[in-house]
Subunit: 341 residues, 2 copies
């Protein structure tokens, strides 16, 4: 791969929420693509996607279709990633995987460009992206960690429907329409009706925890390079289509004031401070949706722990939480000067 | 007041969300009412409310209208409460106030019947009710406190629109209809659009905190009788019409297992344990709405603090969070055997 030469880029899951956002961001950021290969599961193959004003047919993703890719974005499930990533590597390309397949694999770097870009140097053809809570959480914790050291982090999430895929966004919309029409609400995709509700569990439980809670703990530790970091996490789904948020409390290795924390957030990559209580200015998912920054606000002393901090973030889970992070990783691999812009 | 004699009962705010629920619960629980006096602000006077199948006219609440009340439920704002409660007391009646007017007054008991009924004995004619987060939070913390002592509590809330009054519920519904019709969404009642959004601030900020956060800290301490209890609180509004929820982490004076905590919750008044991860069974606001119990679930060890606990609760904020608590207080005052059923 030579910067500027134009790359063969495959996107697996091109018809899904995350893959569709990858296409959009590749176009927005003018990624140097000579050939774009949109791929999906057998079920979605044959559909078309739009890229640079052109309608492109979507082929079925098989190992053979990935042989010649320089970069392959895997925006599909973990089992598809496990099947397809080795084919990309065998062909000499790099697989940038959004799934959980390789996130715990010590041979695969788990990269958030704003936090641990140096770990990319060790890649062997596969790069993993953290889940859509761990990515913005790591971005917000990194400047505090660097300056003052992290001792303990508590996180309660407010996660949007799109984090669980397009089907749940559609189901939420259907439920809203049914409510408006006075008809009964159905939950087929998700275990509970999400309209006018919040759901503190979700699809997959691992014992007493949600799978998501385990991921947030393990992946945030890896990205921050602090394997023993203590994290208390509760993940909750809310009836919002796009935009994850979280209430966070942080204990640091030394007392830190809210003013100092605001300074650190202001100067940190990937963050926009939205924090003026007087004008009702604080992060909301609606404000974060469509943007590339993690919005941070409600930065204040923790009322219950002297010297500790509380804050709140919102982030577009499809962009920075997923697709944008993957494209930034690809930019770091191919055109290092561009990243973090 | 003699039990069984039939009481003169006034309800101020009878046309509002909380007052309307007071009327409903008085009827459901067959409170011994001889005469019901529905009252409201001058703006709402002249409307009618339903009680025991009869339509009753609503008069303007003035000190004179309360002179003969045995019990007066004040489901209005703090300034109305400050004006009207003394008139109830002057007439020999008892004012049960839902507002924040008297919650910090050391001469007024702040009562959750499941937690601190003994404090009622000291009333001088006015009894205060905690806010709609502090009440269910105290109910869930009380059994843990009694058995093992509380050291620190962290709370992230997921509060419904009705906690801010009927106008916000109506605004949320209007926003949903506008969304369905493809029209622009307006926020007139609240600082931000709540539809498809979450709002970590709200109407009133006190410095860096929401007024709600300060209330939850102060009132939970008072109800639990632990003035030094350390509480870390972030309050957030979600697009749910009825039903408040919270993610809670608790450090106790000694290590406590999830099994032990479940046992304590199961045997505690006011709580229903809804906790089976395998069957996707956990508290949701939709499940709590219309019910009298605080639903508690997702009881588990805190992943980030050895020996500590995490759990989640949902509660009907209009019933147990407000009106039911007030009616239970009145039952304790007039017919002690009935309460906590």
């Amino acid at each position: 791969m030579t910067p500027g030469a134009g790359l063969r880029v495959a996107v697996v899951g091109a018809t899904g929420a995350a893959g569709g956002t990858v296409l959009q961001i590749l176009e927005e950021r003018d990624f140097p693509i000579a050939t774009l290969i949109p791929l999906a599961s057998a079920r979605s193959a044959g559909r078309t996607v739009q890229f640079r004003g052109t309608s492109l047919p979507v082929a079925e993703a098989t190992p053979a279709t990935l042989r010649d890719a320089d970069i392959c974005f895997l925006a599909a499930g973990a089992s598809a990633a496990r099947e397809l990533a080795p084919a990309v590597v065998a062909g000499g390309g790099i697989a940038v995987d959004k799934s959980s397949a390789y996130r715990a694999d010590p041979a695969v770097p788990l990269v958030v460009p704003e936090v641990n870009p140096e770990t990319l140097a060790d890649h062997r053809g596969i790069v993993a992206n953290p889940n859509c809570v761990a990515t913005p959480l790591s971005i917000t914790l990194a400047p505090l960690q660097r300056a003052h050291g992290l001792r303990h982090v508590t996180v309660a999430t407010y996660q949007s429907a799109s984090g669980a895929g397009r089907a749940l966004v559609a189901e939420l919309e259907e439920q809203e329409q049914a409510h408006g029409a006075g008809e009964p609400l159905e939950a087929r995709v998700y275990p509970h009706v999400l309209h006018h509700n919040i759901v503190p569990g979700g699809w997959t439980m691992e014992g007493e925890d949600t799978e998501e809670e385990r991921k947030v703990v393990a992946e945030t530790r890896r990205v921050l390079g602090q394997p023993g970091l203590a994290l208390s996490v509760t993940t909750v789904r809310v009836p919002v289509p796009v935009g994850h948020s979280a209430a966070v409390w942080v204990e640091l290795e030394e007392p830190v004031s809210a003013e100092r924390a605001r300074d650190l957030f202001s100067g940190a990559p990937g963050i926009r401070l939205v924090d003026d209580a007087g004008s009702q200015s604080y992060p909301t998912p609606q404000q974060a949706a469509g943007g590339d920054k993690v919005l941070v606000g409600r930065v204040r002393r923790d009322l219950g722990r002297p010297g500790a901090l509380a804050f709140f973030w919102s982030c577009d889970n499809l962009r920075k939480g997923a697709a944008l992070n993957a494209v930034q990783v690809a930019e770091l691999l191919t055109q290092p000067a561009r990243v973090l812009s």
